[in-house]
């Protein structure tokens, strides 16, 4: 055998032994994720944020045979226990995810065994309102991108876990933190800061994926002279601490070349006295030109919010027949208790309906403005839905097959808002008095002890038909849910809840078809992928990642 022959033989052997290695994750691949259903390339699965998998091996008929394949503990080294809110990425058999707060791991997606771990050194100045968490990564080329709780954006080599660049995006000592999974649009990495409880001034910023150089920054609270500034009090510096955090990944429409982002609550949260006016662009969705950061349009769900109704819900983009003609719409289930259909080309309000009990507004007028009935008072105002909202950052799902919009929901919850004193101090919480509520906070350990009556709040996965606005079905849970929803091409819906169950429902009827006990509260979105032709479904619960597949 000649040397040439030997080399050729080795190449042949290697090509059989090693899983096919694809090209780098180009932006073209991110635009056409449906062509590679075995992979999960971006936070919500697609840039339209459907959280829908084209995989269909697991079906309503066989889902009863689903069984646990592996578990990966997501408690980071030398870290206190923290809930896992991350959605993993899977690229060609390799899973990438984040252990709280910012430890990145690469795993064999079929077995859960680790290739590498990267742990950046974090500043002790980091301060976060609601957990030292991270919701996931983005990938472009061979590079992963992660925001950190101390305000850095880090590019990491996907092959060896080594940092490529690390930029300081913002100031952790003032309460700015990066907890969301970044969004890739073309050659840019887009991200924004959490910190709506610390009197930050929010922004959405884009960075060159190769170098980390900042390309543009759009302030979610306009400054003097900018459009929208008239919605803040004149002669006051309220806008400097006006909130407008960004902590859930946005969406992108390549045809319109617009990227869509939900903006957080105004600051201070629960005493609006320092900020009379509508307080743009808090509690809004903004549509930006991803090349320049220029604002194309905005729609504000909750003007002059006093109830912490962040609009940081995932904007779901869908193309559908709307009142007799094709229309590019955005679906948004909002923390304020209404779910919306907007025209995503223009921001035009098309429909807004309550999906829970709501008493702070008696509906939405024809222009899309809520008809407000309640305000916070010094004596206390009882408001439905509660401070955590009718839904929150938990991903909804849209199935192009069923045409239904699936919303994880907190039903019949309320808070009492009592207006209290508030004063801005750097790095301190800037909120007003914390509202009271009946539903306890989410914990990292086992599910809550639940001794509440249904009148004190319960949970549901709800399916709505955007065209008719009708509720199609409702899967009721005794406790609320912080879980995202995943729809599949086989008409299944996967979700979980605080009770520590992960379950599969019939996407057309809501009938429960399977459930497993994960022993911890689900506070993350499910996702699905395939390796060697076998479909897997993954969900984080408590401080662990659980991965299921059909029994073999």
């Amino acid at each position: 055998m000649t040397i040439t022959c030997r080399v050729a033989a080795w190449v042949a052997v290697l090509s059989l032994a090693v899983a096919p290695v694809r090209a780098q994750v180009s932006f073209e691949r991110l635009l056409h994720t449906s062509q590679e259903p075995q992979n999960w390339l971006t936070y919500s699965g697609t840039l339209f944020s459907h959280r829908y998998t084209p995989l269909n091996q697991i079906t309503p008929a066989n889902v009863k045979n689903l069984e646990l394949q592996w578990v990966f503990q997501t408690r980071g080294p030398a870290e206190p226990t923290e809930k896992s809110e991350a959605t993993p990425l899977v690229i060609d058999g390799v899973m990438y995810t984040v252990l709280s707060p910012n430890h990145v791991v690469a795993l064999d997606a079929a077995t859960g065994r680790m290739f590498w771990m990267y742990s950046p050194r974090l500043s002790p100045l980091a301060r976060v309102c609601c957990g030292r968490v991270n919701r996931g990564l983005a990938i472009l080329g061979d590079t992963l991108f992660m925001g950190t709780i101390d305000g850095h954006l880090i590019a990491i080599d996907a092959k060896n876990g080594k940092p490529i660049w690390d930029v300081n995006v913002t100031r952790p000592e003032l309460g700015y933190s990066l907890t969301m999974a970044p969004l890739i649009v073309k050659d840019k990495v887009i991200i924004g800061p959490a910190g709506g409880e610390y009197g930050i001034r929010g922004f959405i910023a884009a960075f060159d994926a190769k170098t980390g150089k900042e390309s543009w920054r759009f302030h979610t609270v306009p400054g003097p002279g900018q459009p929208g500034f008239e919605s803040w009090p004149a002669g006051s510096n309220a806008w400097e601490h006006g909130g407008g955090s960004i902590w859930v990944t946005g969406s992108y429409d390549p045809d319109l070349n617009l990227t869509y982002w939900g903006v957080g609550n105004p600051g201070p949260d629960w005493n609006a006295d320092p900020r009379p006016g509508d307080n743009l662009y808090t509690d809004s969705v903004v549509a930006l030109d991803p090349d320049t950061g220029a604002l194309k349009w905005h729609y504000q769900f909750t003007p002059h919010d006093e109830f912490d109704y962040d609009a940081t819900q995932v904007p779901v983009l869908a193309d559908m027949e709307w009142k007799g003609r094709p229309r590019k719409v955005m679906l948004s289930a909002n923390r304020n208790g209404f779910w919306y259909v907007l025209d995503r080309s223009t921001g035009e309000f098309l429909q807004g309906k309550p999906f829970v009990r709501v008493n702070w507004a008696e509906g939405i007028d024809e222009k899309g403005r809520p008809k407000r009935t309640l305000n916070a008072t010094p004596e206390g105002t009882l408001v439905y839905p509660n401070n955590q909202g009718a839904t929150n950052w938990y991903s909804p799902s849209y199935s192009p097959r069923t045409g239904l919009f699936y919303i994880p929901t907190w039903m019949d919850t309320y808070s009492t808002y009592t207006k209290g004193d508030v004063q801005y101090k750097e790095g301190n919480q800037y909120t007003g008095r914390f509202p009271t509520m009946t539903v306890p906070a989410l914990r990292t350990g086992p599910g809550n002890i639940n001794q509440r009556t249904p009148q004190e709040g319960w949970g549901a996965i709800q399916a709505f038909d955007p065209k008719s606005g009708e509720l199609k079905w409702q899967f009721k849970m005794a406790d609320v849910t912080d879980s995202g929803v995943l729809a599949t091409a086989s008409d299944l819906v996967f979700a979980g809840g605080r009770e520590g169950y992960f379950f599969a429902l019939d996407a057309r009827t809501g009938a429960e078809l399977w459930r497993g006990s994960v022993g911890g509260q689900v506070s993350a979105g499910p996702m699905s992928y395939a390796v060697n032709g076998r479909q897997y479904v993954a969900i984080s619960a408590g401080s662990a990642l659980f991965v299921y597949a059909l029994h073999q």
């Binding site: 301060r127 004193d421 007003g432 008095r433 306890p440 990292t444 001794q451 849970m477 169950y501």
Partner: protein
């Protein structure tokens, strides 16, 4: 006038220290508690939650801390934060931090408008608990008594005196979720009543009237009803004010010390 000014000056000088000293000897005025509650709600509740139990491993109002060993420690941590954790430093004065401690500690018998409540006699209260009040027929203390009603072994550590007093005269005023009863009718007509321990979408866990830990699948139940009112009788007319004071003092003395 001079004396008056001197007096005011002394009061002003003493002011920042009063709450701190109060915190150190565990004696707080109602005003301290109320001021501390306000500061707590505006600055602490965001992370620690309205009940002080949102951070794992810490239950502020039950005195369960990770780092602090005493009130002085708590004041130091409130002011300096804990490096490497999410607990930030603050600009609170000693007095302000002291009022927060006062609020956190308000489960102990406290003062009312600056005047101490007339406290009763704990040993007399215990006699009422075991005798005239018949409390021990339902409640358990330090391993003695039935288990279906709330175990009161640490009630003095987790409830303020005013709340215990209110509970004795008006049991239905506040039935906490943790003390709820549930009535269940099985599909075969069997009735089960007990203390609701936990529930989820598919099951109910309870301690029934025979002190059995039961886990029932909801699909096996015909119906279940949350009992709205407390099964406890009111002692408004059954006990004198003095006897109520004795009983409350006894209950407050139950701190759940480790056996």
């Amino acid at each position: 006038m001079k004396r008056c000014l001197l007096s005011i000056a002394i009061q002003v000088l003493l002011l920042p220290w009063t709450a701190l000293l109060a915190a150190q000897d565990h004696s707080y005025t109602q005003a301290d508690v109320e001021n501390g509650a306000r500061l707590y709600q505006s600055s602490c509740a965001g992370c620690h939650g309205p009940n002080g139990d949102m951070v794992p491993g810490i239950e502020l109002q039950r005195g369960r801390f990770r780092h602090a060993t005493g009130d002085t420690d708590i004041i130091r941590i409130i002011q300096s934060g804990i490096p490497g954790t999410t607990m930030p430093p603050s600009s609170f004065t000693d007095a302000q931090a002291g009022t927060i401690v006062a609020f956190l500690r308000s489960g102990v018998p406290t003062t009312d408008g600056g005047t101490r409540i007339v406290r009763g006699d704990a040993s007399k209260g215990r006699a009422i608990f075991e005798g005239k009040g018949r409390c021990g027929t339902c409640h358990r203390v330090d391993g003695v008594g039935p288990r279906v009603a709330p175990d009161l072994s640490d009630i003095g550590a987790i409830r303020p005196a005013r709340e215990l007093e209110q509970k004795l005269v008006d049991p239905n005023a506040l039935v906490r979720p943790a003390n709820r009863f549930i009535e269940i009718v099985m599909k075969d007509g069997t009735k089960v009543t007990g203390h609701l321990l936990n529930q989820d979408t598919f099951s109910i866990k309870l301690l029934d009237s025979r002190e059995r830990l039961l886990s029932l699948a909801k699909r096996d139940l015909r119906e279940y009803t949350y009992v709205k009112d407390s099964p406890m009788p009111s002692y408004r007319d059954a006990l004198t004010a003095g006897e109520l004071g004795d009983l409350v003092t006894y209950l407050v003395s139950l701190k759940g010390e480790r056996p």
